[in-house]
């Protein structure tokens, strides 16, 4: 093995140490910057109370509004959520988001057309939330409901 010159050894050692420090700092730096991106949705609470089942006429999606406290970063803010609740038989209820899956505008149930309508880009969703026309990439988000003593609660999101 060839003997390395003193100058070359010191030069390589310095480069290695500087590189080591840079890596030692670089990895936590990336973790630090990426950190908040890891937190993903969820409801933020166990159950969101909506209201009595008696408010939902059979076959007519009905909008319920609920306010939850959500903590983002170090700030806790009241956030208003809305869900369309539908029932075909008065016993089984389904809930879906009123947020258009295209770019996040709020959709509205238009009774005489039997469709959810989004005003932003003329999207339409069918009664069960599937895309009827327009640009949305997927159906409206569905939520899991539970009924206790005639009261509706949103308890989770149904992953498609």
């Amino acid at each position: 093995m060839a003997i390395m010159s003193r100058r070359k050894f010191l030069s390589r050692a310095t480069t290695s140490i500087v590189g080591g420090i840079a890596a030692l700092m670089g990895i936590p730096t990336i973790a630090y910057l990426v950190s908040p991106a890891k937190a993903r949705g969820g409801l933020g609470v166990d159950a969101i109370p909506l209201g009595p089942t008696s408010k939902v006429p059979i076959g007519e999606p009905t909008l319920f509004k609920a306010t939850i406290e959500r903590k983002t970063g170090w700030v806790t803010q009241a956030e208003e959520l809305a869900f369309y609740v539908n029932t075909e038989d008065g016993r089984n209820f389904t809930a879906m988001s009123n947020v258009c899956t295209h770019l996040g505008c709020r959709v509205r149930w238009v009774g005489d057309q039997e469709q959810f309508f989004c005003p932003c880009h003329n999207a339409a969703f069918a009664r069960n939330g599937t895309v009827a026309s327009g640009p949305p990439p997927r159906a409206l988000d569905q939520y899991e409901l539970s009924v206790e003593d005639g009261q509706l609660f949103v308890v989770g999101k149904i992953e498609a």
Binding site: M25, Y32, L33, V34, S35, K38, G73, W74
Partner: protein, 232 residues
Amino acid sequence: MMEKVGLWFEERMGWKPIWKALALRNIPKVNWAYTLGSATLLVMINQILTGILLTIYYVPSPQDAYSSVAFITNEITAGWLIRGLHHWGASAMVVLAGLHMIRVVVHGAYKFPREVTWFTGLGLLAVTLAFGFTGYLLPWDQKAYWATTVGTRMLEVTPVIGEWLLRFARGGEELSAVTLTRFYGMHIWVLPAILLVLVGIHMFLVVRIGISAPPKASTREEEPEEDAEVKA
């Protein structure tokens, strides 16, 4: 491979002579005390990088300052590390700059022709202390609040303009949101700008004039030896 890439750039940028002048310059035979300046520079780079990272989450308002710092420390990945490096680095920088100055004084390295290096060095020490003072308020906890209350109060004893200085430093009669934002602005914009200018001059002179050799204990006969170094 790397050599080829290096050559490609060298052909177009010609930075080798500059690199040689900066990093491969000749220096006198020195000891470990001569690394204090470089150590201060390294900690300064640490302060700049971690400081930039802290501004990603920190908010300089009385409502948010404390909780955003707590958020960095407790919830962001490696936030404790970044903040810790900035916090301890601040103290380390003051200590290292102080030791560096003591070395220069003891060796008489401030003498001709290095007076300007010395003056910018004094400026850098003052800026470093100002960094420490303004940065101390930013976490907006009890210790920060009262330290700044006491610290700014000292300005008041200045003859004639004392009262005005106090109000200038606080941005009003009392510590408030205005104090916090002006300390923040000083800390992240004004002081770094001054620091970089001074460091630039300081480093330029270190390269341009070269550093002084450690003084030798001379006997009476061979006294006027210092002049030789100046001519060289």
